[in-house]
């Protein structure tokens, strides 16, 4: 594990990214994926004190909905177990949205302001106070910061010959990202060897990229394409960094504990 990983971004937004990592084993790739899901803590409502709830739903069900509202989590400023108090007071006729939640800490706010909590009719009122706790996805799925986190091997597509021209070509579906290895046969003129191309660019169908050609697909050893989305608690960059830190911290701890 002494050598560095080589990281290359294919798609990069605040809450969504796709990147290629080279020089990794499947065990490490899966370790990072699991750490992103279960080890990076986020704020989530943990206890709710209902002052008034004349809505049509039970307190427990509203509590459950509040728990699933993503809250922004600046991890540098808080430690696991920290509590932030939130309040909500909405009178019908209106819909209570996550944006109506008021926080005692300006760093911890609802990540989305338009998550509907409950629709209130005339004369109904929802008034509550809630404690948001910084916890990890291991304890409860509401604390998961990474959603839709996964990885695939990087595919290398090679053209091995011409397809039978008297036969209609069957679609050859492939999902993920390919490493261009036969640019001269690609339908896209600007293709270059070694370029990373998401399969969505050619409708996930290799026969559209290499028309009339026979292709072979190989996994590139040690190269993984991660697809990461966050719930809005923090950026993808923060999530990945924290996940990797958590793995390396635990590895260091293990090394120390088993040292003779």
């Amino acid at each position: 594990m002494a050598e560095d990983f080589e990281v290359e971004f294919i798609e990069r937004e605040d809450r969504k990214a796709r990147f290629l990592v080279r020089g990794m084993t499947p065990a490490v790739a899966n370790g990072i994926r699991r750490a992103m899901v279960a080890d990076v803590p986020t704020f989530s409502v943990d206890t709710v004190r209902f002052v008034e709830n004349s809505s049509v739903m039970f307190d427990e069900m509203i509590g459950l909905r509040l728990g699933l509202v993503p809250l922004t989590t600046p991890l540098d400023d808080f430690e696991e177990g920290d509590v932030v108090t939130l309040a909500l007071d909405v009178e019908g006729p209106a819909t209570a949205y996550s944006g109506d939640i008021e926080s005692s800490d300006e760093l911890v706010q609802p990540a989305e302001l338009n998550v509907p909590i409950i629709e209130l009719k005339e004369g109904q009122r929802l008034q509550l106070e809630a404690d948001a706790v910084l916890g990890s996805g291991k304890a409860h799925a509401k604390h998961q910061g990474g959603v839709a986190v996964g990885y695939r091997h990087l595919h290398r597509v090679e053209v091995v010959g011409d397809a039978n021209e008297f036969e209609e070509q069957e679609p050859n579906i492939l999902r993920g990202v390919i490493e261009e290895a036969a640019a001269e046969h690609a339908a896209d003129e600007s293709a270059e060897d070694g370029a990373l191309v998401p399969t969505s660019e050619f409708d996930n169908d290799l026969t559209k990229r290499y028309p009339g050609k026979d292709v072979e697909v190989h996994d590139v050893p040690g190269a993984f394409v991660f697809h990461v989305e966050t719930d809005g608690s923090f950026t993808v960059e923060e999530l990945v960094r924290r996940a990797v830190e958590s793995i390396s911290d635990r590895a260091a701890e293990l090394e120390e504990k088993v040292a003779i």
Partner: protein, 44 residues
């Protein structure tokens, strides 16, 4: 226990021996009101 009569909408206090009946209008259907206290609910 505080209840509300479903016919005359008045608050009714039930005692143990009086039976289930509204003392004002004699209606036998009473509705239990939500307690005015703050209720704490764990989210799980």
């Amino acid at each position: 226990m505080s209840y509300k009569c479903s016919r005359c909408k008045r608050d009714v206090e039930l005692d143990e021996y009086g039976g289930v009946r509204c003392p004002y209008c004699g209606h036998r259907v009473l509705l239990k009101e939500r307690a005015p206290t703050v209720k704490e609910v764990p989210v799980e």
